[in-house]
């Protein structure tokens, strides 16, 4: 996008050239000053963003193993690694699981967050602030603590969750087995993400002028109509950013899944798969640098695409 605008630069320069000679020196000086100001940022971006990203892509185009990682000489194989990863029988399973995990997490986090935010926004009752503080706990706890606690609660033999279900006569559920693992880690991840949605949506609600509701009430709109006709449309910009950030956060989730299941069974997502292959963790201790980079790049591209969608939607809203 930016590259397409470069020809315009030439035009700008051409327009500048006839400028009086006297004005030249100070302008050049100020340009160097500008460069000096920008340099730290550019160097930072290159070292910590561009270089690792490019290195990641380069790795996915060469066939690395432990020997060639150390001693060099990994052969260039083009997109072979991508083809091999995509032709793995499990690839599409993992993609499907990632999609379900991400979509379900975002949907429930948003809905629950919105309901809670609306509830607290109405406020007016004692302990409202305290309660709202309590809802932030999942956000404040280290994930290693909450992940281990969820794993313990979901223990198939002695977990409190099964004990609770047992009180209603339900059979114990094997939460973390291959089939149920995706459901279990999604539940834990929803719990983790609710506070973030609650906080952002709550502050969004506070920005809606109260007189809108007053006017609506005078016109005879009931609570339901006020919600759909005022709250929802006024919250749209906040909703958009919440969902996009949620998407990017959820796509790359490794910690909570890893702590609970090590990515076994249906809980393997693109992010955990990439992590497992990059460091030889989980089921296989074989290290697969190139395959891990390929999956990582795929994830990046997906996140980037949604980033563009966000920018496009935002532009449209501004217009």
């Amino acid at each position: 996008m930016s590259l397409l605008t470069i020809p315009k630069l030439a035009a700008v320069r051409a327009a500048r050239v006839p400028a009086p000679a006297a004005g030249r020196r100070p302008r050049r000086e100020s340009r160097w000053v500008a460069v000096a100001f920008v340099a730290p940022l550019v160097i930072y971006l290159v070292l910590f963003y561009a270089y690792p990203l490019v290195q990641n892509v380069v790795m996915s185009l060469h066939r690395f193993d432990r020997f060639s990682f150390v001693n060099g000489g990994a052969p260039f194989v083009g997109f072979d690694i991508y083809a091999e990863v995509a032709s793995q029988p499990r690839f599409w399973d993992v993609v499907r699981q990632t999609a379900i995990f991400t979509a379900a997490s975002i949907l429930f986090q948003y809905v629950i967050g919105l309901v809670l935010a609306a509830f607290f926004h109405r406020g007016g009752f004692r302990m409202s602030a305290t309660l709202r503080g309590l809802f932030l706990i999942p956000w404040l706890l280290p994930v290693i603590v909450s992940g281990t606690t969820w794993q313990w609660m979901m223990s198939p033999d002695t977990g409190v969750l099964n004990a609770f279900l047992g009180m209603f006569g339900a059979d114990p559920v094997w939460w973390l087995n291959a089939d149920n693992a995706l459901l279990s880690v999604t539940i834990a991840n929803i719990w983790l993400g609710v506070p973030f949605n609650l906080v952002i949506l709550y502050s969004g609600l506070q920005n809606i002028p109260a007189d809108l509701y007053e006017a609506a009430a005078l016109d005879g709109a009931d609570a339901w109509q006020q919600f759909w006709r005022i709250t929802v449309p006024m919250l749209r910009p906040v909703t958009l950013i919440t969902l996009l950030l949620g998407l990017v956060y959820t796509l790359k989730v490794v910690d909570i899944i890893w702590i609970m299941t090590s990515g076994t069974g249906s809980s393997q997502t693109l992010a955990t798969w990439s992590y497992a292959m990059a460091f030889g963790k989980g089921t296989s201790s074989v290290i697969r640098y190139s395959e891990a980079s390929a999956v990582g790049t795929i994830l990046l591209v997906v996140a980037l695409l949604f980033g563009f969608v966000y920018i496009a939607v935002q532009r449209k809203q501004e217009d």
Binding site: S2, F67, V70, D157, A178, T283, V286
Partner: protein
């Protein structure tokens, strides 16, 4: 936003990308040591600072192991020790050798040895001045690649079948009668019938679960060269059946060895498959414990995999001889003479040298039942070399599938047939 700022930003980005590409292009070179780099311990002298990496983060600074290692610094040197879990340590070693900043001594888990050698991370034992005389052949096995020795194992551990003597007595089971799978299952059935739980083991995904599965796998007559045989499936079926019948906890699929041991310590389980490093803890349990060898399918003792680590010297690119001299001095101190005894007792291992082992057994009767399993143990990588890690990954996947099938025969069979370990 004006056109000019947008243009400038565009330029900045493309500049950034170009520089990034340039950097990436030269990343391949650098100070990577030449394969088979030269240098010899006998030509070097020890340096003021010696770096030592081990996979025992539980032994923090000031613990007996930490002090024992540091006491091995030669005159005029100090040892800087750091620890990380097995897999992380191996990854850190890989990067360190690549960057030319490898430590002087690394303690590496034995199944990682062939891969470390294949990636040219390790100096030969001869080069690094490491003595390997008097070490049992089966324990040295993982450290020998193409007839060349790399590093030395200082001690070993093995798996056995712990039992809760109180519960067995209650159920009228004599542990001496457990000599094959059928008699073990009969004993499990009896103990469960009297109200206790059956057996705990670790089936967690990855090498740890495979380590615990191998005695049953090998005990069935199966072979690592083909994990799809009917013998292999029968081993998976055995453990899967225990989960299905409720004799083993379903959490076995996610329990590591410590978690499985904690379950046994509750006193509710009659048996526990676990390692010799818990021998002292078993003696301190609130109930009477004992240990028997893991039985093979049709009788006799099942081969268990060798457990334990190798002390190795990584390849060095600069001042190699001095680094190897450091390694030679520290490793000799840990594995020879009186210190060999302390090294193993501190870690809860049995020495890899028969004479030191005999000393340990004479000093504590806890060790007596573990001598035979360790002497009969088989190296995980002895048959397959660096191919082992791939097979282990498939086996781990098969085991996970089998435990999830909870006794369903066709499920277990599919798990073993489909396992690809990718």
């Amino acid at each position: 936003m004006t056109t000019t700022t947008r243009v400038r930003r565009g330029l900045g980005l493309s500049m950034a990308l170009a520089t990034g590409l340039g950097l990436a292009a030269c990343a391949g070179g650098g100070s990577t040591p030449e394969p088979g780099a030269d240098g010899n311990a006998s030509a070097g002298t020890t340096t003021a600072e010696i770096t030592f990496w081990d996979p025992y983060p539980q032994h923090t600074e000031g613990t007996p192991w930490d002090e024992h290692v540091k006491s091995c610094a030669p005159d005029g040197s100090t040892i800087v020790r750091s620890s990380a879990p097995q897999t992380d340590l191996f990854n850190q070693l890989t990067t360190a050798v690549k960057e030319g900043t490898a430590p002087d001594v690394v303690v590496l888990d034995n199944p990682m040895m062939p891969e470390a050698v294949a990636a040219q991370l390790l100096a030969t034992a001869e080069q690094a001045g490491i003595a390997t005389t008097g070490i049992d052949e089966n324990l040295m096995g993982p450290g020998v690649v193409d007839g060349v020795e790399y590093g030395v194992p200082f001690g070993s551990n093995a798996l056995g079948l712990y039992y809760n003597a109180d519960l067995l007595e209650e159920a009228g089971v004599d542990p001496a009668t457990i000599t094959d799978w059928a008699s073990l299952e009969a004993a499990l059935e009896k103990t469960v019938a009297t109200g206790s739980k059956g057996i705990t083991f670790s089936g967690i995904a990855g090498e740890e679960g495979v380590f615990q599965f191998l005695p049953w796998f090998w005990g069935s007559g199966a072979d690592l060269s083909d994990i799809g045989t009917s013998e292999a499936v029968s081993a998976g079926q055995l453990l899967s059946g225990w989960v299905g019948k409720g004799w083993a906890p379903r959490s076995a699929a996610t329990d590591n060895q410590s978690a499985a041991w904690d379950l046994f310590l509750t006193g509710e389980y009659a048996f526990a498959e676990n390692g010799s490093w818990f021998a002292a803890a078993a003696a301190d349990a609130d109930f009477k414990t004992g240990v028997i060898p893991i039985p093979a399918k049709d009788g006799g003792v099942a081969p268990v995999p060798t457990g334990g680590e190798f002390a190795v010297a990584p390849i060095q690119s600069t001042d190699a001889s001095d680094h190897y001299a450091n390694a030679a001095a520290v490793i000799a101190c840990l594995t020879e003479g009186e210190a060999a005894f302390t090294t193993n007792e501190t870690l809860g291992y049995l020495s890899a040298k028969p004479d030191v082992r005999a000393e340990q057994v004479a000093a504590s009767q806890l060790w007596e039942p573990w001598v035979a399993p360790i002497e009969g143990a088989a190296g995980r990588t002895t048959e397959l070399g660096s191919e082992y890690v791939g097979v282990s990954a498939s086996l781990s996947e098969a085991l996970q599938g089998a435990l999830n099938a909870a006794g369903d025969a066709s499920g277990v069979e599919t798990a073993f047939q489909d396992a690809s370990g990718y």
